[in-house]
């Protein structure tokens, strides 16, 4: 046959779909990390939450999430395309492919919270929360930044979602865990913290690799088109460098501070680097990625220590990884970003002044404020109605038996003396 050529839109769809598959797979990564970092007696519970919040997110984002996020109308909220009925795709690629990519992002934002509120939150309460955040809260923020909303109009930049996904998830986790209070036995009366060790480092390690792997869909996929490959190449390399550097700096920081190279922290560091690079990945040079990731790795270690100082119990480090580094990544655009790579103004060090920096700060702070208020209300209402936290007895026995009537590791002899 005589050669026929592939149409651009087909190749772009192919690319976005593969990226969407990878982002979906991150859900498994979140599940394994969260499960690995908590006690075995609550493992089935966190996995159920993680599994169902993606299901909920898919349905919620189908029913109204997409309409709110990408539906036309005012710059605060979209209101068109309920149930995807004549919903439009803002880009060239077909609506269904675009939806899947966005739905996977929505699921990620939702599941971040599970880790921060792990080992004591009621399952019912979690189900409700997860539907609300993915059907309403997340899409609204998304609309502001990616849906042509007011922040987009201000040229606020967040390439792949440091703010949209990670800051949202991280600060929802923060307000959630504050309202929920620490796990029994985590802090002593004198405010000092106790170790509540994760039950499976291998699970956690696998999870981090899966997340890193999925991030190659998360960031490069956000180009939404292949073009001549130069942009997706840059984004992919920057993503990898930031992650690697984050892992290294986090390990050395904790090593210096506490005398041992703690894998759980090194892994958090890589995730921190990934979160931080998510916003700027397209607008910077690799050496900047090295810096951004490296700083991210330090931030996460200090963040975890800081939270313990304030007796805020975040079992998996969700707040430090996603919350704090979401901020850092968003701001870093204002410092290392380049006009030639698609920004409207150069970053600080390229002589672009503090203009972009201020826009970034403005954007991320409003989002944080919005999340703390709205999610604070959501959690409070849930607490006052069906209740947010399981009983003391159930917390001792473990949520697996209490909430699901089953064990995660039937037959295994496990000490539960915490």
């Amino acid at each position: 046959m005589d050669t026929s050529y592939a149409v651009t839109i087909g190749v772009d769809t192919l690319w976005v779909l593969i990226a969407a598959f990878l982002v979906f797979f991150m859900q498994a990564g979140f599940g394994m990390v969260e499960a690995g970092f908590i006690r075995s007696k609550n493992t089935c519970n966190i996995l159920t939450k993680n599994f169902l919040d993606f299901c909920m997110a898919s349905i919620g984002f189908f029913i109204c999430g997409y309409a709110i996020m990408f539906g036309p109308s005012n710059s605060f909220i979209g209101l068109k395309g309920w149930f995807m009925v004549n919903a439009k795709s803002p880009v060239d690629i077909p609506i269904f492919a675009f939806w899947l990519f966005q739905a996977a992002f929505c699921g990620a934002a939702a599941t971040i919270v599970a880790g921060g509120m792990a080992e004591r939150m009621k399952f019912k309460a979690y189900l409700i929360y997860s539907f609300i955040i993915s059907a309403f809260i997340y899409p609204i923020v998304g609309h502001w930044i990616w849906g042509g909303g007011w922040l987009a109009k201000l040229n606020f930049m967040d390439f792949a979602g440091s703010t949209v996904v990670h800051t949202v998830g991280g600060f929802a986790a923060l307000i959630g865990t504050i309202i929920l209070k620490p796990r029994i036995g985590k802090y002593n009366s004198d405010g000092s913290a106790n170790v509540i060790a994760g039950h499976s480092i291998p699970l956690a390690s696998l999870g981090v690799f899966i997340l890193w792997f999925g991030w190659f869909g998360f960031n490069p996929g956000s180009t939404l088109s292949v073009g001549d490959g130069s942009l997706i190449g840059r984004v992919a390399m920057n993503t990898n460098i930031a992650a690697a550097m984050g892992g290294i700096t986090a390990m050395f920081t904790i090593w210096k501070m506490f005398g041992k190279p703690d894998l759980s922290m090194a892994m958090n560091g890589a995730l921190a680097g990934l979160v931080a690079i998510t916003a700027p990945c397209a607008f910077i040079e690799p050496w900047a990625a090295l810096l951004i990731g490296g700083i991210g790795g330090i931030i996460v270690v200090l963040g975890v220590a800081l939270l313990d100082r304030f007796c805020i119990d975040d079992p998996v480090g969700a707040v430090s990884v996603h919350g704090l580094n979401g901020i850092w990544g968003t701001i870093s655009i204002g410092i290392f970003g380049q006009k030639t790579l698609g920004l409207t103004n150069n970053g600080l060090i390229y002589g672009g002044g503090i203009k972009q920096l201020l826009i970034q700060i403005l954007g991320v702070s409003t989002v944080i404020a919005f999340i703390l208020v709205t999610m604070g209300i959501v959690f409070k209402v849930i607490e006052m109605t069906i209740g947010l936290r399981v009983s003391r007895e159930e917390e001792f026995k473990g949520l697996d038996i209490g909430e699901h009537g089953m064990e995660s590791y039937a037959g295994f002899q496990i000490f539960t003396t915490e």
Partner: protein, 113 residues
């Protein structure tokens, strides 16, 4: 010399250890066990089948002490383990005929502590 065996609730272990330390009992061996008693269990459901669990997680303590430490030890265990709920557990006292410290070969009272 006596060998004191206690079955307690897992989550009371830290309190019991604290109480024992206060009673100057520093040496013990801990094993995890499953207990079956008055305390009713719970039901598990797995894939549509319901299942009664009556073997509950317990911690077993083995503590060898000299005569004069028997009562203090028992009291300490009770102080640490008591929650007034069914399932708090039991303490058993056996006569210990001989005790040897492997490292030194010492025997008897000297070897206990």
């Amino acid at each position: 010399m006596k060998l004191i065996i206690a079955m307690i609730q897992p989550h009371k272990l830290p309190d019991v250890k604290k109480a024992l330390y206060e009673a100057e009992v520093y040496k013990m061996t801990v094993t995890n066990a499953l207990g079956c008693g008055q305390q009713k269990g719970y039901t598990e459901t797995y894939r549509g089948v319901i299942h009664d669990i009556n073997l509950l997680k317990k911690i077993r303590l083995d503590i060898a002490v000299n005569e004069d430490f028997v009562e203090p030890t028992i009291k300490a265990i009770i102080r640490g383990a008591k929650t007034d709920k069914i399932g708090d557990g039991k303490i058993f006292v056996l006569d210990l005929q001989e005790c040897i410290r492997i490292r030194t070969g010492e025997r008897g009272n000297a070897a206990i502590g």
